[in-house]
Amino acid sequence: MEIAFTRATLDNGLDVIVHEDRDLPIVAVSVWYHVGSKNEQPGRTGFAHLFEHLMFEGSAHHDHGYFPPLQEAGASLNGSTNADRTNYWEVVPTGALDRALWLESDRMGFLLPALTERKFATQRAVVLNERRQNYENRPYGLAGIALAAALYPPDHPYHWPTIGQIADLHAARLDDVQAFFARYYHPANASVALAGDITVEDGIELVRRYFGDLPAGPVVPRLGVAAPPLSGERRVWFADTVEFPRLYLAWHSPAMFAPGDAELDLAADLLANGKTSRLYRRLVFEQRLALDVSAYQSSRELSGVFQVVATSAPGHTLAEIDDVIRETIGGVGREGPTVEELDRGLAQVEAQFVLRLQTVGGFSGKSDQLNAYNTFLGEPGYFGRDLARYRDATPEGIRASVTGTLIARPRVALSVVPRGRVDLALPGSETAVVS
């Protein structure tokens, strides 16, 4: 299984990747900038994401907002920012491809002349609303922020949330936008992938036409910051408008595509995802200590985080849940997964990889995958080898990864409890930092 592609690098450093799929009369455009909240500085957080909003407010040669000319073309479009990268995409009818590339190239090359104080102030207000809606006003919504703050020291690029700290968002200024654009938004730090109803030759030629004249801009050096290990277990808590206490356990884990990453992904599934998992069976189905349980290997460019999350059932404590989780992880660390567990995990992974080939664009469509592999590995065609990472996983490899990460390393344990019920936090917890 592969995503067939051709890549060319323009003179200005822009990577162009094209994948032909003529099933439907649509083309996906995906533009990745290798910049995210990890490139921000303490005290100046939230900037990469705020900037993403400004990219939709018009550029020098089309200063009327980004949505109308594309909506008029029947496009769907969006963008997103995380710690490692910012991406933008359109899926357009074939006859609107020129227009999409014209607009994407105009905002890559000519954003600043159209950027006003007023647009900046409005989008900052929108982002503050986004933060309140999705974090402050959502039960457990601040857990990710508290975990990151406890896992990483204040100067580590993963210490702060991508949405930004509220004080920093208020302090952001238009000058910052200009500097940020100059530093990160240019062809040498970007790649464009097209997938769909277009030939490879035409695709490369079109991208060259619209982006080829833009100045390269400085090459952005890769960050090489390791996550300093925790000196010991850290227990923290905060109170929220929630009905039931929830326990979050987090460990530093391998970075994206690093040895052990795929093994821990499989371990997360067999530990806590779905009704077949060991923890669902014990915590939710049999002992009924918890209402839900899940686990993730969230791998990122600099380092990963392995998480287990469970919500306590009425009448039971987070400490009881913690004991079962510890014991269950210990079991996998001693004996590894069963052959049956690994077979089921691989059957699910295989299906997931095939299903990922169904869409040309949007978040996680083929164009997005080509760009992801290109941005992080320099290899757009990594799809098949990515799958092989899972197929090659062995029970012993999974056992060793679980031992090396979840047993040998200290963890962060966050308790989120109902307001006024600090007594429900894991014993020995200190107040979490949430900002």
Binding site: I26, G65, A121, P139, F244, T276, F285, A347, Q348, Q358
Partner: protein, 458 residues
């Protein structure tokens, strides 16, 4: 070659899209089959569509349809609750049960090579669930606790209150999940009875899309469903979807406030009972909604988000169901702008009714949004299967998707304004706000519709 940046590139005419053909078949005494072939990837999406949903819960039993549906995968035949999911995992299946108001859809997506096992599992899960007492009680406890959690989610609290304001004790007056009180009263007998009555093979439709041969699928379905197909008798006719007049009690038209002390934002709903899926105004309402609040570039979103910056996003929608469903505008807005947002929403609705009717540019934009790029709605096997399921649930014509673009393009300004005047009237609209009473009650009073403070009833 230099790019001409003085103007945007013109749009080139789209290549026409046609919905793939749908092959029909039947299993004797069993469900109708509809199959869409798509052979580019070895994927198969199976949907079992049952014409029963939350609207059939019955008085005092809200949540029963969803509760029953949730119990389907808790054991069947030799397989325990865990065993069912081990079997699904072994074929890499993505499994989902969705209970809407008008239908319940059980979805299984997997690789085509697993088709025989997928079909037999699906048939067993849907038509032969164990519904064992112990499982029923375990699942009920989980659902009651889930409801207790939802009581802390402002959007859920607002949705519950809004449904009640519009539909009272009617079939659409509650969320599919039900309420804590109603679900606590549900047990094994209710689930068994509901399943026996509503999960009849002859009433169901099996939709398949993907890398599959229709004749082979019919054979496999007959094998999988053979035993259950004997039970249950002939298909019931659910009756044509109705365009009945809006209920006389169509909404309370009041402002309701649910206190959430020191909430970071206010969750807002504004709307009224509107049209059924079968309405002749269907396409006009889609165009109206796209321009009013259904897309990013729409009056309500541009006003509240891009001009005022008081929300991360606001959107409107007509939920057109078998019976007349709601029109709703929803947004989470900053506390200090709560009354302002409600006022602006009502003002934008008044506008499209005639003060400031939609311009021809706005209508053209809405039509383009709905019709150009239409093909991207039909990329995956699951999307194709869901499109066919819509045809089944709402009795849409076979060529419905092929004719959709021309029907939308035929809508003109006059039709849109007339539809707005008929279906959305600010004077009939209910307003629900979940927010900090201390901060928002007085400004809401100033809107002149009064404010009733009520408690959340999730």
């Amino acid at each position: 070659m230099t790019v001409d940046r003085s103007r945007l590139p013109a749009l080139v005419e789209d290549r026409a899209f046609r919905f793939p053909s749908v092959t029909r078949a039947t299993v004797p005494g069993g469900p109708a089959l509809r199959v869409v072939e798509q052979h580019d990837l070895p994927v198969l999406a199976l949907l079992l569509v049952l014409p029963v949903g939350a609207a059939d819960d019955g008085p005092g039993r809200s949540g029963l349809a969803a509760f029953t549906a949730d119990l389907l995968d808790e054991g069947t035949g030799e397989l325990s609750a865990i065993g069912v999911h081990e079997a699904l995992a072994r074929i890499g299946a993505q499994f989902d049960v969705d209970t809407g108001y008008d239908a319940t859809v059980v979805t299984l997506v997997t690789l085509a090579k697993h088709r025989a096992r997928a079909l037999s599992l699906l048939a067993d899960i849907v038509f032969r669930p164990r519904l064992a007492l112990e499982d029923v009680e375990r699942v009920r406890t989980l659902r009651v606790n889930r409801l207790r959690q939802l009581a802390a989610v402002p959007a859920a609290v607002a949705d519950v209150a809004f449904a009640r304001e519009l539909f009272g004790a009617g079939p659409y007056g509650h969320l599919a999940i039900g309420t804590t009180a109603s679900v606590e009263a549900l047990g094994e007998p209710e689930a068994r009875q509901f399943h026996a009555r509503h999960y009849r093979p002859a009433d169901a439709t099996l939709v398949a899309a993907g890398d599959v041969d229709p004749a082979e699928l019919a054979t496999l379905a007959a094998e999988a469903l053979g035993a259950v197909a004997m039970r249950g008798g002939p298909a019931r006719d659910p009756g044509a979807a109705s365009d009945e007049a809006r209920a006389a009690s169509g909404g309370t038209a009041r402002v309701v406030l649910i206190d959430r002390p020191s909430a970071a934002q206010s969750e807002v709903r504004v709307g009224s009972v509107a049209a059924a899926r079968a309405t002749a105004d269907y396409h006009a309402l889609l165009v109206l909604n796209a321009a009013l609040g259904g897309q990013f570039v729409s009056r309500i979103n541009l006003n509240l988000r891009e001009r005022r910056g008081v929300t991360y996003g606001a959107r409107s929608g007509f939920e057109m169901r078998r019976r007349p469903g709601p029109f709703v505008v929803q947004a989470s807005v900053q506390t200090s702008a709560t009354a302002e947002a409600v006022h602006e929403v009502l003002d934008e609705i008044r506008g499209v009714r005639g003060d400031r009717p939609l311009t021809s540019d706005e209508i053209a934009m809405a039509q383009a949004t709905l019709t150009r790029g239409y093909a991207r709605s039909f990329e995956t096997a699951e999307q194709l299967a869901r499109a066919v399921a819509q045809q089944v649930v709402y009795g849409l014509a076979d060529d419905y998707y092929d004719r959709f673009p021309e029907a939308v393009r035929a809508v003109d300004g006059e039709a849109v304004t007339a539809a707005a005047r008929h279906w959305i009237d600010p004077a009939c609209m209910s307003v629900v706000v979940v927010g900090d009473r201390e901060a928002v009650a007085a400004p809401l009073e100033a809107l002149g519709k009064g404010v009733d403070v009520v408690s959340a009833e999730v």
